[in-house]
């Protein structure tokens, strides 16, 4: 498959997942402090680390968005 740009509507969806993942990671890191149960704590911590990986991947995807080109055209 050749390199392809992400369409605008895909960009919105990915952005929405990204915001959701951001909230999840923030909440997980905040909640971990209050949890006494060991298993629940490890689950939350695992989710936090995988969430961060996902955030990086989503950011990478967003970088190949057509919308970025569009804004460049508009500003120049």
């Amino acid at each position: 498959m050749t390199y392809q740009k992400i369409a605008p509507h895909e960009t919105f969806e990915i952005h929405e997942i990204l915001t959701f993942k951001n909230v999840c990671a923030t909440k997980a890191s905040a909640m971990v402090r209050f949890v006494k149960d060991e298993e629940l704590r490890t689950l939350l911590e695992e989710d936090f680390t995988t969430g961060q990986e996902h955030i990086k991947e989503l950011q990478e995807l967003l970088r190949s968005s057509q919308l970025l080109e569009r804004t460049d055209e508009l500003t120049h």
């Binding site: 498959m1 392809q4 992400i6 959701f20 909640m31 006494k36 149960d37 689950l43 995807l61």
Partner: protein, 134 residues
């Protein structure tokens, strides 16, 4: 830990407004853990839904595999959380009456907390002590 065994979502007495009162913290570790677990479960659930909905809008193969992977991770996470909650007795999918009892207790706890005066008016000690810097 023994708090896992008894029903935890209960706050027995009406809470007193004295925040330092040790009675208020009765059963707290279990209460906090089960509430956070429930919140975690609901978030995992909406994560699954979000990923599934997004997947129906995405055509790009790379983005597709990415989101699909996330969807699978979210489904596994949801299964793990619900298994944990069932094991701890925080969640009873097969005994509706048990679950209903637990939900009623949580609702009562929420109401009691809502009835507390969480933001008391003036707590300033200014004027009661010598405060030369003010």
């Amino acid at each position: 830990m023994n708090y896992e065994k008894k029903p935890i979502n209960a706050i027995k007495k009406p809470m007193s407004n004295d925040y330092l009162e040790i009675e208020n913290s009765d059963g707290m570790p279990g209460l906090v853990d089960s509430t956070i677990a429930l919140n975690f479960l609901l978030t995992a659930k909406s994560g699954i839904r979000n990923c599934a909905v997004a997947l129906t809008e995405i055509a790009d193969p790379e983005a597709r595999t990415e989101v699909r992977k996330m969807l699978n991770v979210a489904i596994d996470l949801h299964a793990e959380i619900s298994n944990l909650m069932m094991k701890k007795g925080w969640f009873h999918p097969y005994q509706v009456s048990e679950q209903f009892k637990l939900d009623k207790m949580s609702a009562q706890a929420a109401l009691q907390i809502a009835n507390m005066q969480l933001f008391p008016g003036d707590t300033s000690r200014l004027g009661t002590f010598a405060t030369p810097n003010y």
